[in-house]
Symmetry: C2
Subunit: 183 residues, 2 copies
């Protein structure tokens, strides 16, 4: 079990409607949003800090551009009025945002990361979080990845997800399952 | 071919003797250091900026702790007297160092990254470099990874290396082969 500190923050990365577009390719872990909804409910019920991160693409034609329907948060993780929202323009939630200072204000927070996608915005945010000195956790069943390609050869979404988790585990973060989390 | 800008910088990550220890597990790409040596020779011959990064572990018993033989640069990439050396204490060469300001001083640099290991310090440095707005390249045959494990199951070093390259390519960096580089 992983005992969640009173000063833990839940950082939810890019769980936006635009990720439902077929454009992104085949995804693993179709249940991730349901798991996120449950994790969010538990963090809220236990009074932990919630930070919602969303991606506003610098590309005006992107489905993740502010103002487009795809920019909206998915229903499972819609913010409550008093919760913090951070808008970012690159993959990492720490670059060009106030996330680091928001976390430092908490004192010595633990950072729990979940969202989309495992190998892009979740990975770089978790990697930076760990390297910035925050005790960091990626909730592995509350993330998902898409198929990628290398030299035209397909790498299936489960492999992308799992290898990226293995590369993060240890130096950067711990990678608990949601059911291991305990308040 | 990839035409290297006059304002390109070569950032060499953690090519230190301590990585020869069997402790790290099985590695792919045994030829990486020979490729690095050749890339470094070409960047030097063409007068590009060279930045050597080394890891000084915060763990006093680590073989990558300053003062230990494992902390030394490998012979293939030994710095010349006028070249910049950056010492870091976490995976990312941008965290706790002056790397970003050194690169900004160049104006609009291209950042070429090579070194050890593909999925840890190379990946997080390249990801941050791209997200900080630098045009970034990971020289894919001038990097190497080790075997990793997830839930006790082994992931071979080639898979770790290749999946991490696929996850970096695009949003974060381009991933040319050394022979594609042209001055």
């Amino acid at each position: 079990m992983v005992k969640i500190s009173p000063s833990a923050a839940l950082v939810i990365i890019d769980v936006q409607k635009g990720f439902d577009e077929p454009f992104w390719g085949k995804r693993n872990n179709p249940n991730a949003e349901k798991v996120m909804e449950d994790v969010l409910r538990r963090f809220r019920a236990n009074g932990r800090k919630i930070i919602h991160v969303r991606h506003d693409s610098l590309n005006p034609s992107s489905i993740l551009k502010a103002g487009k329907p795809g920019f909206e948060f998915k229903n499972e993780v819609r913010p409550l009025e008093h919760e913090t929202i951070i808008t970012k323009h690159v993959n990492s939630a720490f670059i060009g945002t106030k996330l680091e200072s928001i976390l430092r204000e908490i004192g010595e927070p633990e950072v729990y990361v979940m969202g989309l996608t495992t190998d892009h915005c979740v990975s770089v945010t978790a990697r930076m979080s760990g390297n910035l000195g925050f005790r960091t956790f990626v909730i592995r069943d509350a993330c998902a990845a898409h198929t990628r390609f290398l030299d035209g050869k397909k790498i299936d979404a489960d492999t992308v997800h799992n290898v990226n988790l293995a590369s993060i585990e240890g130096d950067f973060a711990q990678i608990p399952w949601s059911e291991e989390l305990e308040f």
